[in-house]
């Protein structure tokens, strides 16, 4: 897949990769991504392709640190081992952060290690890396984060930080491929078209009822909705985030194969299905919407009437597999 195109294109990119201790195959990644139709890095962007686990084995970090980073990797890619304790749906961290959390356009996780502590609008205070990880446990995994400072939390944080190896703290340049960049929102979204597309192109893996597929205790295909999915407070319930995730990553192995309209339609369909309650639920869906609408739910369909049948979404007290609503790690910080 290597072509002469790379050389031409990357002549320009030497400028910005120089800033970072680049993985030696950074060029291979960028070349592959651009051939698939992803944008090439812009001149002012920070490009970082994290080291792999093979790179870890070959590196000269202390063997004990290697062991802990490996454990972080293992937790990240098979988070189901914490099922019933910290995780109450069928997801792994890598269910949304593809390529072990390393891939551009699939919300690579390393930026958190170099931009935090930092301010997050979602909870309106300064968060550190552990709290950011705790956020994905609380909402995306419909769970209860491992204790701050616990072995599991430390191992996960170490994995994130290892992935950021060589990147300066608080980088000033925007990061290439961060998050799930959304395609432009089309004028109209269609539930029906989204449903049809889902059945044709997604159900083979995710199931026609959105339940995904588990084999034994391992998740093969995560659940895009229902009790086994992320809850109403997760980033992925925002339409633009879901559309961005889908456009850039799905169907698995075929990124950017859907048109912008298709990605938004299927995101709209998935976002119109039920899932466990938002842990910030006040006991009333309208009140919760009022409270968290401005910072979050204005981008989701929470509390709105569904197109297909007029059902109000999120109007229930179902918390999925867990028997609590909010883990005690969700609290405001005031630094006072």
């Amino acid at each position: 897949m290597k072509s002469t195109l790379t050389c031409a294109m990357l002549a320009g990119s030497v400028l910005f990769t120089a800033l970072v201790s680049a993985n030696e195959n950074t060029d291979d990644y960028i070349n592959t991504l651009t051939e698939l139709g992803f944008p090439a890095p812009k001149d002012n962007q920070l490009v970082h392709i994290p080291p792999t686990l093979q790179d870890l084995e070959q590196s000269d970090v202390h063997p004990e640190l290697k062991r802990v980073i490996r454990r972080g990797y293992d937790l990240f890619t098979d988070t189901q081992q914490l099922r019933g304790e910290n995780v109450f749906n069928n997801m792994n961290c890598s269910s949304c952060h593809l390529g072990d959390g390393r891939m551009p356009f699939s919300a690579p996780v390393w930026p958190a290690a170099v931009t935090l502590p930092g301010y997050r609008g979602k909870n309106d205070h300064v968060n550190n890396l552990e709290e950011r990880i705790a956020g994905c446990f609380t909402y995306s995994m419909n769970g209860k984060p491992p204790e701050y400072g616990s072995d599991d939390m430390l191992a996960l944080a170490a994995y994130h930080q290892w992935l950021a190896r060589g990147v300066p703290m608080y980088p000033e340049k925007p990061i290439y491929g961060r998050g799930f960049p959304a395609p432009e929102r089309p004028e109209e979204l269609s539930y029906e078209r989204g449903e049809q597309l889902y059945q044709e192109q997604c159900a083979v893996c995710h199931g026609d009822n959105g339940g995904g597929l588990q084999v034994g205790e391992k998740t093969v295909f995560p659940a895009p909705w229902g009790d086994d999915s992320n809850n109403w407070g997760a980033g992925l319930v925002r339409l633009f985030t879901a559309a961005g995730f889908i456009k850039n990553n799905m169907p698995l192995g075929q990124p950017l194969s859907l048109s912008d309209q298709e990605a938004w339609d299927v995101a709209y369909f998935i976002s119109s299905q039920e899932r466990p309650q938002d842990p910030r639920y006040t006991g009333d869906v309208a009140e919760t919407l009022e409270k968290y609408g401005p910072t979050f739910h204005k981008h989701s369909l929470y509390g709105q009437k569904r197109d297909s049948d007029g059902k109000v979404l999120g109007d229930h007290s179902n918390t999925g597999d867990k028997d609590f609503l909010k883990p005690d790690t969700v609290w405001p910080r005031t630094f006072e």
Partner: protein, 215 residues
């Protein structure tokens, strides 16, 4: 050859995605009779054979029944092309397809052949492709579709661990050449086309050394 039924079958496969096709209930003991003619290649115990020269015969023992049935229907309809297999698939009625599928799916699988001669380095590369993928080429790990330890996931994604190296190689190359196109949504073809010849040898060898699903 009778073209009409084939054409009709082809149409029905077009309207329904393969994985949604209603399954006819299979009977393993009837399947054993119908499978007598298959043993010369797939062996009486369903283990198949890795042939260094020429076509390898896939192991059928332990594969998912619906997956086997789909492949047989695909040979019959021409959705999957292979000169050796076609006449044998054509011999089977729809009921017999379900019966032999059930029969083979209940058999205990045997170790895969053809991977042992590969070097440690080659096996290592194969392991990484199968378990983690190589995202520098956007090669998604095999196990993300073929399930934990590549032992299969549901009836759409067959177990490939413990399959013979020669057969795995031939299928990946068939997808690359456009000779096998019966996978849903080109899911397998997309990945196969990203593999180099070395990758194919490596992943086929490693998978052949892995334990097939114990059922």
């Amino acid at each position: 050859m009778n073209y009409l039924p084939t054409a009709i079958l082809f149409l029905t496969t077009l309207t329904l995605p393969g994985w949604l096709q209603a399954a006819t209930e299979g009977d393993a003991s009837r399947g054993a009779e119908a499978a007598a003619v298959c043993a010369s290649c797939h062996q009486a115990d369903g283990s198949g054979k890795h042939n260094e020269q020429g076509e390898s015969w896939p192991q059928l023992a332990g594969l998912d029944a619906d997956y086997i049935a789909k492949q047989l229907r695909d040979y019959k309809s021409g959705q999957r092309q292979n000169a050796t297999m076609k006449p044998f698939a054509n011999m089977l009625s729809e009921q017999q397809v379900a019966d032999v599928a059930q029969y083979y799916s209940e058999m205990a699988p045997h170790p895969g052949q053809g991977g042992d001669s590969a070097s440690e380095e080659v096996l290592q590369r194969g392991r990484i492709l199968a378990q983690r993928g190589d995202w520098s080429e956007y090669i998604v790990s095999c196990k993300s579709c073929h399930g934990p330890d590549n032992q299969g996931a549901g009836s759409v994604f067959p177990g490939i661990a413990g399959q013979h190296a020669g057969y795995i190689e031939s299928q990946l190359k068939a997808w690359q050449a456009g000779d096998r196109t019966n996978d849903p949504q080109d899911l397998m073809g997309t990945i196969a086309r990203r593999l180099s010849d070395d990758d194919i040898r490596a992943v086929a060898a490693w998978l052949a050394t892995q334990p097939p699903q114990a059922n």
